[in-house]
Structures are given as C-alpha cells and as structure tokens.
C-alpha cells in the first residue's frame, strides 16, 4: 500500500509531467482557460493514459521484446496503439455511455498527439517498471496533469484581470505565471522521500 501511494504521488507531484518534465504543454496552455474545460480534458487524459500504459506494457514485453527483437519499432507501434485506442474508446463511449461521451468526446481526438500519453508509456519501458508500477505511474501522471490544470486555470482567471506590460500581454504573461506555479511544485521535492523513504 505504501509503495502504491508513493509511486502515484511521485508521478503526480515530484515528477509532474507538465510542470517539471514539460510533457503535454499544448493542452496545458490551451485548455486551461476555463475550469470545466480543464476538468474535462484532464479526465480524458487520465483515462487514456491509464489505458495506454496497460495496453503498451504487454505489447512491448510480450511481442516486441519476446523472442525476436523488434524493440526498435517501439515508437511506431506505440503511437499507432494509442491512436487506435483513442478511436476505440470514443466508439465504445458513444455506443454505451452517451452522457460521458458528450462530456469527453471533444477532448478525445486531441489526446492522440498529446506528448504526455506517448511519453508516459515510453518512460515506463525505459525505467524498467513492472506492469503494476506502469499503470500506477500512468494514473499518477494523469492525476498530476489534472492537478496542474486545475491550479493553473485558477491562476489564469486572476492573471486575465491583471494588466501586464504591453509586450507581455497574452501568452508571455501566461508562461511567466506557469513558471511560478512550476516553482511551487519544487517545494515537494524532498518531502515524499522523507515520508515514505
């Protein structure tokens, strides 16, 4: 239990994919303007990341790395699997859970090219995680994305009202405020290892 929490919290906070590792910056800057959109996008990301991690781990270890060495196909296979998975999830949701599809549907196609999803699956492989830790890390990354999006949409609603210098209006001031939010995540660096270590 302790390790489960540790793995999730490490992925969500100390190794936050958006603010510490810079993966998935596009949706972070683009969709964080309104809280409801930010939540919808984040839930879709959590969903797809966990599914992708659960599917790509066996594919890599049983198919690509089992017997014949096809590991160099990792990038191609993973991106295709993720694209197919997103399509599949969309079809299933549309058929069986129309309400959820209505809420998440628009965000799903965007996730295929979210580097967070591909990044998490590839990091799981290169870090040599077992199946359980891979899925937990993916869950943690998704939750970390959610956390960052929610915090940042709050920050942005305040920044919108501020009046920065002319040249900083719009994107530049958003990036500077992202830098301050990112700074706050550094405070957690030693905390988790102290508690769980």
């Amino acid at each position: 239990m302790k390790t489960v929490i540790f793995v999730i919290l490490t992925a969500a906070i100390t190794n936050n994919y958006v603010l510490v590792k810079f993966l998935g910056i596009c949706p972070f800057l683009g969709v964080s303007k309104k809280l409801d959109q930010a939540t919808g996008m984040s839930i879709a990301v959590i969903f797809v990341e966990v599914m992708a991690a659960a599917v790509t781990w066996p594919i890599y270890h049983k198919l690509l790395d089992g017997g014949v060495n096809f590991t160099y196909m990792e990038t191609t296979v993973f991106i295709l699997v993720i694209a197919a998975l997103v399509q599949l999830v969309e079809i299933i949701l549309k058929r069986f859970l129309p309400a959820l599809h209505k809420a998440l549907g628009v965000y799903l196609p965007l996730i295929t090219t979210n580097c967070g999803v591909l990044g998490v699956t590839m990091n799981n492989i290169s870090d040599g995680f077992n199946f359980r830790d891979s899925v937990l890390t993916a869950l943690g990354c998704g939750l970390g994305f959610f956390l960052a999006m929610v915090i940042f949409s709050g920050v942005r609603s305040r920044v919108e009202e501020a009046r920065p210098p002319k040249a900083f209006e719009g994107l530049p001031i958003t990036l500077v405020s992202a830098s301050i939010v990112s700074l706050s995540f550094f405070g957690f660096a030693g905390v988790l290892t102290r508690i769980f270590g």
Binding site: G30, V106, C115, G170
Partner: protein, 223 residues
C-alpha cells in the same frame, strides 16, 4: 513566393517556435544545454524535411479521411530512422535527448506543416519549407538554450564563461526557468514586431488541425 522567401519565412516571419508557438515541449525541456538543443533542432529538421517530402509526394494517394493516421505513421518511420542513426553515431546526444527524441512524432510543428503546407504543394517546395521551418526551430531552441546555459549554468556549449561561471542563476536551468525564459523571449518578439506577430494567432496551435475543432479555446483568444 520565390524559393528564397519560402525558405526565409520559416526562419523569421513564421518562426514555428517563437511566432507560431508550436512544439513547445522540446523547446522548454531540451534548452538547458546548447549542444543538446542543437542536436534536437537538427534531428527535428531532418524528420521535417523527410516527412514533408514524403507527404507531398503521396498527397494524391493518401485518402483525405485517414490522412492524419497516415501522416503519423510516416513521421514515426522517419523518427525511428533518426533515432537509430543517432544511437549509432552520436550516443551521448542520444542519451541527453532521452524520450524527447521519440516524441518528435507528436511534435505539432511536423504535423502542422504536413497539414498546412506539404499536402498542398510540390515535393521541392515542401522540402524547402521543411528546411526553413526546421532551421527556424533550431534557431529558436538554440537562442533559448544560450540564455539558459549562460545565465543558469555559466557556460556555453560546455565552455565556462568567466564571471557567469562563478555566479550562476541555478533556477534558470530548472523547469520554472524554462517557462520564464520562453515567456520573456515571446514578449521580446511581441515588442520587436509591435504585437503584430502573435496578435492574430496568439497560441499558434490554431494551425494544428487537432485544435481546429474548437476545443482548445485557443482560437477564442485569437479572435
């Protein structure tokens, strides 16, 4: 538009990173050292030229409905080639780029150029466009890495710089510094172009077909 203009637009007027604001992830992550940034820029340029040429050559063959998966597969193939070459001939660079090398596959610049340019123009023009855009990306990521490495690490390409070496601002090489320097650079572009460069396409990612679905909230800002 002459070929020269076609090439130069990627470097300055439509710089993919600083004006169109595409491909932010590698720009922020790899710009801690100039050597790695230069390698990243060249790798992306190589992939961009190849993918632009291939997509342009196949533009009449690829069915319109499934074009995006087709582009992704083509790009993934070229990325794998670059990855294997780099692993064989430039291993230390391969190590320092890590997962970001493979993530060129989902880089908005490449898919964006495929969608905006390569599927409408000839092979030669697309190659020039890819070269210009790729070098524009290299220029932007290297200038950002120069600022971060000199101020944050006190060196340039690993060569120590006097005074800065004794007084580094460590935070600039870390994640918050990345966002900060990038914000300042875009503000500088805004200042120089008097707001013209970014005003119309504030988040740039508009060009990216995935965001044109109206979800991103980006075109809202742009209007």
């Amino acid at each position: 538009m002459t070929r020269m203009q076609n090439f130069l637009k990627g470097l300055v007027k439509e710089n993919p990173t600083l004006v169109l604001v595409l491909g932010t992830c590698p720009t922020l992550a790899i710009s801690t050292s100039v050597t790695a940034a230069f390698g990243m820029g060249l790798a992306a340029t190589a992939v961009l030229i190849c993918s632009n040429m291939a997509i342009s050559a196949l533009r009449h063959t690829i069915p319109d409905r499934v074009r995006i998966p087709c582009y992704i597969v083509l790009v993934a193939g070229f990325v794998t080639v670059v990855e294997l070459l780099m692993e064989a001939y430039a291993y230390s660079l391969y190590e320092s780029l890590g997962v970001y090398l493979a993530l060129i596959v989902v880089n908005c610049i490449i898919l964006g150029r495929a969608e905006m340019y390569a599927n409408k123009h000839g092979v030669a023009d697309s190659a020039i466009d890819g070269l210009g855009m790729g070098l524009g990306f290299t220029l932007a990521i290297c200038s950002m890495a120069t600022i971060r490495e000199i101020l944050g690490g006190g060196s340039w390409c690993g060569i120590p710089i006097p005074w800065f070496h004794e007084n580094p601002i460590g935070i600039l090489t870390m994640a918050p510094g990345g966002f900060f320097v990038f914000g300042c650079l875009i503000a500088l572009v805004n200042k120089i172009s008097k707001g013209k460069a970014i005003k119309k396409k504030e988040f740039g990612c508009m060009g990216c077909m995935l965001c044109s679905k109206g979800v991103c909230g980006k075109e809202e800002t742009a209007q």
